[in-house]
Symmetry: C2
Subunit: 207 residues, 2 copies
DNA sequence: TCATGTGAAGACATTCACAGCA
DNA sequence: TGCTGTGAATGTCTTCACATGA
């Protein structure tokens, strides 16, 4: 499906641009210039034009880009599908927050199940999501078609969870554990280390 | 305080390396080679040596780097201080999770207060942190010495929160709202957009 | 022998600046 | 006039590869 090899940063920017287009469309804006997107996104205008070049949509110098058409083009380009499913592992503070946060938004992606090792957290429904014991993860994943896994467990367990995941159809992981995961080559890992980010913010709080 | 202008990515890597050194020290490891750090962090060995060059610590080819000394050098270089304070705005799912998550870890950075607009969420203690109404944010910040702010409010309110923050001593923001923040030049903004990250993970889940 | 420290090369990402067009 | 689309230039980051030293 992935047409060419696109830089990760480009993918990120296109997602951001796409969201801006969605919101502009909701506001009934029909056309938009690159510098307007720039203002809203914090990206630079030439950068945006370059990214849009890549997706192969042409605007007009007179009116700018057709919001609706451009949105659809990016949609297709990124292969967005409706109702994509993901799975969450780890129902601590962070995990439960993610369930509420993501499943509350109007997003294409929903968690369709979650796992934890703690018996008190499982066999119930949290934010509309069925929660099971981690022992069931392998079998439930392999009998599903889910291939996105979000890991929100303590770092000691993260690698083990990742192995179970990649053994059962998962090919993309969003990892919140501050732990480098070893995975097969074809599996994508997106690390999101909150502690590092907070420490980074702290670094820039010194003058 | 910031000695030279260090690339943001370098800062991130140094934080990661630092954490690895802390954990190695806890395991009583005295010396470590760059390729060992590489294995643990997912970074490349030359990259690590380059970063360490920058902090100005020299290892020995025979034994590698002295874990304890290197840790302290990075500590000093990054200006880590004990018990740095931050403030949280937004006590929804995500905000409450961050309180539990960060204040539970053994970190140098703690939240010392939190704010929300919803009366039901304030004037109480959550995960050991005093929660106040957003109206009190300005006065409480200005009478404190906190200069790190974590924003976990809906995107509609994020810019307003940011303005209150920067008007009251905040110079570094960790922003979870999917919204570009306009701030004065001297203020650092670290964006952490969970929805974009999940969508990015979804992108890489297609073959 | 094997790892460090680092100049030089290479890869990658961003911006410049302008032709072309409505 | 003021935008888009884009070749070329610039800037930044990463890796290579090897001299050096224990």
């Amino acid at each position: 499906m992935t047409p060419k090899k696109i830089a990760e940063k480009t993918v990120e920017r296109l997602i951001v641009i796409h969201r801006i287009l969605v919101s502009q469309k909701a506001n009934n804006i029909k056309f938009i210039y690159s510098h307007e997107i720039a203002k809203l996104s914090g990206l630079s205008a030439p950068q945006i034009r370059r990214d849009l070049m890549l997706v192969g949509y042409s605007g007009s110098p007179a009116k700018g880009y057709d919001v609706s058409k451009l949105k659809n083009t990016i949609n297709t380009f990124l292969g967005f599908k409706k109702n994509k499913e993901a799975v969450l592992v780890g129902l601590g503070y962070l995990g439960r927050a993610l369930l509420g946060y993501f499943n509350g938004q109007d997003s294409n992606i929903k968690f369709s199940m979650a796992f934890d090792i703690n018996p008190e957290r499982v066999n119930r429904i949290i934010s509309g999501v069925n929660c099971y014991h981690i022992d069931e993860m392998g079998s439930r994943l392999s009998s599903s078609n889910i291939n996105i896994c979000v890991i929100a467990v303590p770092k000691q367990s993260a690698q083990e969870v990742a192995w179970t995941a990649v053994d059962n159809k998962i090919i993309s992981i969003l990892n919140f554990a501050p732990q480098h995961l070893r995975v097969p080559e074809n599996v994508h890992v997106e690390n999101l280390d909150l502690m590092t980010m907070l420490e980074k913010a702290a670094y820039y709080s010194m003058e």
